[in-house]
């Protein structure tokens, strides 16, 4: 919402303030000023002047030499302007002054252009006559400006006075950010009311005078509202003997000051009222309305209608139409029809000001794809009371401007009731809410300034209809607070019962994941939660995989962001690929982020959001480096048993021979492996890439941060080394399982210390050596105490077809 200071001052005459101060104060009282523009910031020493004499330039055909009265003297100006004649009043910038830019449209120059004394083809010139562009405005705003040449001022312009002031170009325009609850502030009256309260000045509503020539409007028009829910109020008035012409200067100036182009008196009046009251209006040529009747009803599905702008629009049965006895004549609240458009020949005009259902207008406007100034206001939900003011104001302006004669009376179809809303006032409670100690009288004073009037008999505040947002005490508290000053409210800390600050167990486990990943050289990345369905093909995920049943977003930003991810792999591989493309070496990344596994969406069940600990790397390191991260993590989150790794994971996007499920207590908690070369190729990663994914909800279930000191071993250990030859296919994990399950109570640890495949060993076989450590907690072990365990280990190994090397 943009408004000029001059227009605000029309209702708050005592307001004297600099733009900066106004901005700050309004922002602090709740009407945020986003910025302002001083129209005259680059205009200096520009006066109204009158041309006394024009002579030809002795040496140039296209130049003339003028003697110009600038008030206190006559100066000589040489100009090339083709449109000046003796007696014309024109804006002149004096030597040392500034203009906003060149005379080409849009040729504004930052800081303006300084005017110096000059010589044109040998003749001295002491200033410059200005075009409308040089004054920083446009032909759009001043339609009477010539196509080419100096802007000729009206005859009443006072010679010697500031031309900028005379043209109303000395204004400041403020850009307000109005919050959605303050529909009333989408009007200049609303902003003026806030301004008056902020600066503690008198506020004057425009005085609407009674108009009418005695003819009853009801003779001319009947209004019938079929859908009262979508149109709570419809007001109409009629004016006849219309004389279309330009609006007076004051009206044009106000429109220009807020960036609205003046067109003619009738259009200008409706635009003016839309700004002033925030109430959109529409004017119909009454002669085009058939049957003397307006019917407000919804359209038929598939109905077509041509709007004012000549476009054909397709309608449906939810859209509200304004119709006459025969045909639709406008889309309610959005745009009128071409068929009833006002033309220069108009004799009688029907003014409409209505209140439509905001949501309906918003939806219709979206569906049609047409958002107008009017629909923008209606969709916020207007005060039904302002419709009456608007049509009356329109008739008043028609008469004041001499644009026509208003008929008496108003057709007002209102289905609602004008009920006085009240809110009980409780000053003590307001002080409690705010933590303040404001006197009740002061609160009542503040509220009174914005027309929230206290009734001492009922101890209630009477809420005016334009403040639909005020419903209860908290709303009054806000009104008090913002004019009392948020900055004056003290700062304290909540007292009350003390609470214990903490993070959840889940977050503690995630904390460990971050620490371990970083200690192992992985940096934290963040990826999007939604991705393209093409990802599944890229990851070679089979057509029938449940991973493909991700939750779809019904209105995504595009297909690439349309599915909630069911695997974190794409994000990780994309990030690694980004790094690879940028030639970053030895990259290790991790991510902690959710995947979204659908539950029963038909029953509106929310998906299972599972936090995944995803790691990925290329460059230095291999499968076993990744496995080391898993082991470290499992140990750090206090898993009591050791996890195991099984190669039967069958993950399509991993190398078939270099992948494993991570199991804990026989449940899969994650997987790791080398990325399938085909997948690495499609992501454009040209190095061996390893990934690991750990399902955090499972870990969280098993994790524990309970620790107990177990003592430092006091007795020496006995170590036994065994050396074996076995088939290549047998995994060393099998050997470890045997050692673990047969090692007995003294088994402390075991470690692979040699692995060999090659010439020294038969083809298809490998040589493996383990060192097994036994230790007693209470005593030094004797050989015979471990003999039995060793015996069992060796027997079990042999049973597996593993031969021992002696």
């Amino acid at each position: 919402m943009n408004t000029s200071l001059s227009w605000i001052k029309a209702y708050v005459p005592d307001l004297e303030v600099t733009p900066r101060k106004y901005t700050d104060a309004m922002t602090l009282s709740g009407t945020k000023v986003e910025g302002y523009e001083e129209h005259d910031k680059d205009l200096e020493k520009i006066v109204v002047a009158q041309i006394e004499k024009i002579e030809k330039h002795p040496d140039a055909d296209k130049l003339v030499v003028c003697q110009v009265n600038v008030g206190d003297e006559i100066i000589q100006i040489v100009t090339g302007a083709p449109n000046v004649k003796e007696g014309d009043k024109i804006p002149v910038v004096l030597v040392g002054g500034r203009v906003a830019g060149g005379h080409e449209p849009g040729a504004k120059v930052a800081g303006g252009i300084k005017i110096k004394k000059g010589k044109l083809r040998g003749v001295e010139s002491f200033g410059m006559m200005c075009s409308i562009e040089e004054l920083g405005s446009t032909k759009e705003m001043f339609p009477d400006a010539p196509e080419d040449g100096v802007y000729i001022l009206p005859e009443d312009a006072p010679v010697g006075e500031s031309a900028i002031q005379y043209l109303g170009l000395d204004d400041v325009v403020f850009e307000f950010e109005v919050t959605s609850n303050r529909v009333d502030c989408y009007s200049i009256i609303g902003l003026a009311r806030e301004s008056a309260a902020t600066f503690n000045k008198e506020f004057h509503l425009p005085e609407i005078k009674e108009t009418g020539n005695g003819e009853d409007v009801n003779e001319s028009i009947k209004i019938q509202v079929e859908n009262k829910e979508l149109c709570p109020r419809f007001c109409a008035r009629v004016a006849k003997d219309i004389k279309i012409g330009p609006s007076p200067k004051w009206l044009r100036e106000r429109l220009v000051s807020v960036g609205i182009r003046p067109i003619n008196n009738l259009v200008d009046i409706t635009n003016y009222i839309m700004e002033e009251y925030g109430q959109p209006m529409h004017a119909y040529d009454l002669s085009t309305i058939e049957g003397g009747k307006i019917i407000v009803k919804t359209a038929k599905n598939g109905e077509k209608f041509v709007t004012l702008d000549g476009q054909e629009r397709e309608l449906d049965e939810t859209m509200l139409m304004i119709c006459d006895a025969e045909k639709p004549i406008g889309i309610a609240g959005i745009m009128g029809g071409e068929n009833t458009m006002i033309t220069e020949e108009v004799k009688t005009v029907l003014f409409e000001a209505a209140c439509f259902n905001g949501t309906n207008i918003r939806k219709s406007s979206k569906k049609i794809g047409l958002r107008t100034d009017a629909s923008g206001k209606f969709e916020k939900g207007l005060d039904p009371a302002s419709a009456v003011d608007a049509v009356n104001r329109a008739c008043q302006l028609v008469e004041e401007l001499g644009a026509g004669v208003a008929l008496s009376g108003i057709v007002d179809v209102y289905s609602g009731e004008s009920k006085q809303i009240t809110v009980p006032f409780d000053g003590k409670k307001i002080n409690e809410m705010l933590g303040t100690d404001i006197a009740e009288e002061d609160m009542i004073d503040i509220l009174d300034k914005i027309d929230l009037v206290y009734n001492p008999d009922t101890k209630e505040i009477m809420v005016p209809s334009f403040r639909q947002d005020i419903e209860r005490l908290a709303d009054l508290a806000e009104e008090v607070a913002r004019f009392y000053g948020y900055d004056k409210i003290p700062t304290t800390l909540p007292k009350g019962e003390s609470t214990i600050g903490k993070i959840s167990f889940k977050l503690r486990v995630e904390e460990v994941a971050k620490d371990v990943a970083e200690a192992c050289g992985f940096s934290q990345g963040m990826c999007y939660s939604f991705e393209s369905p093409k990802v599944f093909d890229k990851l070679l995920i089979p057509e029938d995989s449940t991973l493909r049943n991700g939750i779809k977003i019904s209105n995504p930003l595009g297909e690439d962001y349309s599915i909630m991810r069911t695997t974190p792999l794409n994000g990780m591989l994309t990030s690694l690929a980004t790094n690879y493309n940028r030639r970053n070496k030895d990259v290790r990344l991790y991510e902690l982020g959710n995947i979204y596994i659908p539950r029963d969406l038909d029953k509106n069940e929310l998906p299972d959001e599972r936090m995944q600990f995803t790691l990925g790397m290329y460059g230095v390191g291999d499968f076993f480096s990744m496995k080391g991260v898993a082991e470290t993590f499992m140990e750090k989150v206090g898993l009591k048993e050791r996890e195991t790794y099984s190669p039967d994971s069958n993950i399509p996007y991993l190398h078939p021979g270099r992948q494993a499920n991570i199991l804990y207590q026989n449940q899969v908690v994650g997987y790791l492996g080398e990325v399938h070369p085909e997948v690495a190729d499609s992501y454009g990663i040209g190095e061996k890439t390893y990934v690991m994914v750990i399902d955090m909800p499972f870990i969280e279930e098993k994790a524990s941060f309970e620790k107990k000191y177990e003592g430092i071993p006091r007795f020496p250990a006995i170590t036994r080394d065994i050396s074996m030859v076995m088939k290549k296919e047998i995994m060393v994990g099998e050997v470890e399982k045997i050692i673990e399950s047969n090692g007995g109570k003294y088994l402390e640890s075991y470690k692979l210390f040699d692995l060999y495949e090659g010439e020294q060993v038969e083809k298809g076989y490998k040589s493996v050596a383990y060192s097994i450590v036994f230790r007693g907690k209470e005593k030094t072990l004797e050989d015979k105490e471990i003999a039995k365990a060793m015996e069992k280990i060796l027997q079990s190994l042999e049973a597996l077809g593993i031969s021992l090397r002696k």
Binding site: G30, K32, S180, N181, R362, E432, M433, L434, G435, T436, L473, A474, D475, E478, A481, R482, Y486, D487, P490, T491, T492, K495, T499, I500, G501, K502, I503, S504, K506, L507, K514, A517, E518, A519, F522, S523, Q524, G525, M526, Y528, S529, F530, I551, K552, I553, S554, N555, L557, Y561, M564, S575, T578, N579, R582, L589, N594, Y596, L601, N604, L606
Partner: protein
Amino acid sequence: MKEKLKKLQEEAIQLIEESVTPETLNDVRIKYLGKKGELTAVLKGMKDVAKEERPKVGQLVNESREIIEHALDYAKTEMEKARRAEQMKKEVIDVTLPSKKNMIGHRHPNTIALEEVERIFVGMGYEVVEGPEVEYDLYNFEKLNIPADHPAKDEQDTFFINPEIVLRTQTSPVQARVMEQGKLPIRMIAPGRVFRSDEVDATHSPSFHQIEGLVVDKKVSFADLKGTLEVFAKELFGEETKTKFRPHHFQFTEPSAEVDVSCFKCGGEGCRFCKGTGWIEILGCGMVHPRVLEMCNIDPNEYSGFAFGVGLERIALLKYEIDDMRLLYENDIRFLKQF
């Protein structure tokens, strides 16, 4: 006899002093103190000494032995010291050669900022809680006083799964979920991922993070809200940080405010960073709307509360002077390594 001992002793000392290797020292030891050594020989020749003289001679021999032994030890220690010194001279390294670092990973700037915020609020007795990212419309809007068809709902550019399920547009639904559980008083923050239908550019992302804060207790006031956020701003941006509360509107708070902090780059004088205003907007907040309390079965006549919402990326971008939001989601290691 005495002279003989003295002579032996002097000879031995001289040999020790002349020695340059541990081997020659050992030779000296054997020559004089060994089983067949010369001092030993003197003791052996004791039988030729008069009986009453024997103790005296014995004592003299022992004295000489001690002196020689001492000299031997001393010489040996010195020799070892010299050897070490020589050795260390050879071991001199160039300390300016590159170090051997462990490869340590780096935390995402968002996380660092979040942990900072968590630290501040946990210290003030707040619990960190989480809520679902795919959320019911009911919690994301309805229970926050944003009824169906409300324009505020349109303003949020919501991603819908179906008419009842959305990608949460804010972390505020966690408020409603926690309040509904009915455990009072409440002091919580809820960090997490939120989604808005914004195209990706330098200042927008369809997915970003917020931190929601909520306090509900008896007699919580707007002054408490101001005090709390003032502490927060000072802790996060420095002790000299000033805060400014501007009235604003949110559906689920009343009164509502937006909070600016004095620009930590220029200290409030106005610079390019704060677009010349001296202030930087960091969060929105307000007193929990009584209707929101009612919808969560909390009696607004007995309890009141305040809530606030901070954009995590906004904090991270400001704090670390990151000029493009896209960097946060590209995961370029050269970016991440700077944190």
